[in-house]
């Protein structure tokens, strides 16, 4: 094969190639800035996401530290809480016992007063009954034994009594 034959490119292909090159050039010219902006904004977003992730990581670490600290404090305070609760329970128990003692004392006093009152009432009732009986007996006895002479005597006493009252 000759040199002339080796580099022979058909004319149609050559023109098409030139068109492709021009097309590529035009495309490059018109889309260059947009593509550049697109990738630039994506880079910025990635950068921001990276920063946010770093911030979140930092916060998580801080919280982790806090939780660890609280857990260790909780263990230290646990004993104090238990001790305080025991003291309060002890105080409450003695208070309840004191109150129960006071209530029992009051109940005993009330019962004593009631018993004394009932006793006095019973005595009074008995006295009253005895007195009623005695008076009834006296009335019946007088009615049986009183005679005309006694009546005259009483009438005389009545008249004398009015005279003496002046």
């Amino acid at each position: 094969m000759t040199e002339h034959e080796a580099i022979h490119i058909p004319k149609a292909v050559l023109y098409q190639a030139i068109n492709v090159v021009i097309l590529i050039g035009v495309l490059y010219y018109f889309t260059k800035q947009k593509i550049k902006d697109y990738f630039s904004s994506r880079a910025t977003a990635h950068e921001k996401a990276k920063e946010n992730a770093a911030q979140a990581y930092k916060e998580a670490e801080t919280q982790h530290k806090d939780v660890v600290l609280k857990l260790s404090n909780l263990k230290e305070e646990e004993a104090a809480y238990v001790e305080k609760a025991q003291a309060e329970a002890k105080e409450l128990k003695s208070k309840l016992i004191r109150e129960a003692d006071q209530i029992a004392h009051n109940m005993i006093q009330d019962a004593k007063k009631t018993a004394a009152f009932e006793l006095e009432k019973a005595k009074q009732d008995l006295r009253k009954e005895a007195l009623e009986e005695a008076l009834l007996y006296a009335r019946e006895n007088i009615q049986k034994t009183i005679g005309p002479a006694d009546q005259k005597n009483l009438e005389r006493q009545f008249v004398d009594g009015i005279g003496a009252a002046q």
């Binding site: 006296a138 007088i142 009546q151 002046q166």
Partner: protein, 180 residues
């Protein structure tokens, strides 16, 4: 004196003045009889009722008391009271008349309760003692009451004299109760 209405006082005073110190006790007895005649609740209501005219009430009262042969002064009083429609006040008028009469005559009314009957001599002694004490002439009504057991109890005006055994027993009971 007990409190009476002005109307009753006027009628009682008028009757007292017309009697002029004469036959007051008889008038009082007659008034009490009239009062007893109209004591019936229905009759009392009828005499106070506005259904009957004053004239009809006057006729009614005279018919009711016709058998009593009343003193002219009493008849006059009843006639005026019927004409003025005041027959409803009769009870108060009688009571007021008695009070006026007793006050003018220095009389003290009362009653005596005794366990047994009292004879005239004793009655006079009781009246004398009460008159001496009250300085007024007692007009006493005597009754017996077995509940007294023995002795006498008397009330004259606002005075009370109690010498009954039942009261003495009651006093004894009170004293013993207080001592306990």
């Amino acid at each position: 004196m007990k409190k009476y209405s002005e109307v009753s006082k006027r009628y009682a005073k008028a009757l007292f003045e017309t009697l002029n110190g004469d036959k007051e006790e008889i008038a009082l007895q007659q008034l009490r009889k009239v009062q007893a005649k109209i004591e019936n609740k229905e009759l009392k209501k009828l005499l106070s009722s506005p259904v009957l005219s004053r004239k009809e009430k006057g006729i009614a009262i005279f018919q009711i008391t016709a058998s009593l042969s009343l003193n002219e002064n009493i008849k006059g009083l009843l006639s005026v009271m019927a004409a003025k429609d005041r027959l409803g006040n009769l009870e108060e008028v009688v009571s007021c008349f008695e009070a006026i009469s007793d006050e003018k005559n220095n009389v003290l009314r009362g009653d005596v309760l005794s366990a047994t009957e009292i004879d005239q001599t004793e009655k006079k002694e009781i009246e004398r003692a009460i008159e001496k004490f009250t300085k007024r002439k007692p007009l006493l009504d005597y009754k017996t009451d077995e509940k007294l057991i023995g002795g006498i109890s008397a009330r004259a005006g606002s005075f009370t004299f109690d010498g009954s055994l039942s009261t003495q027993l009651l006093r004894l009971k009170e004293e013993v109760s207080k001592a306990n």
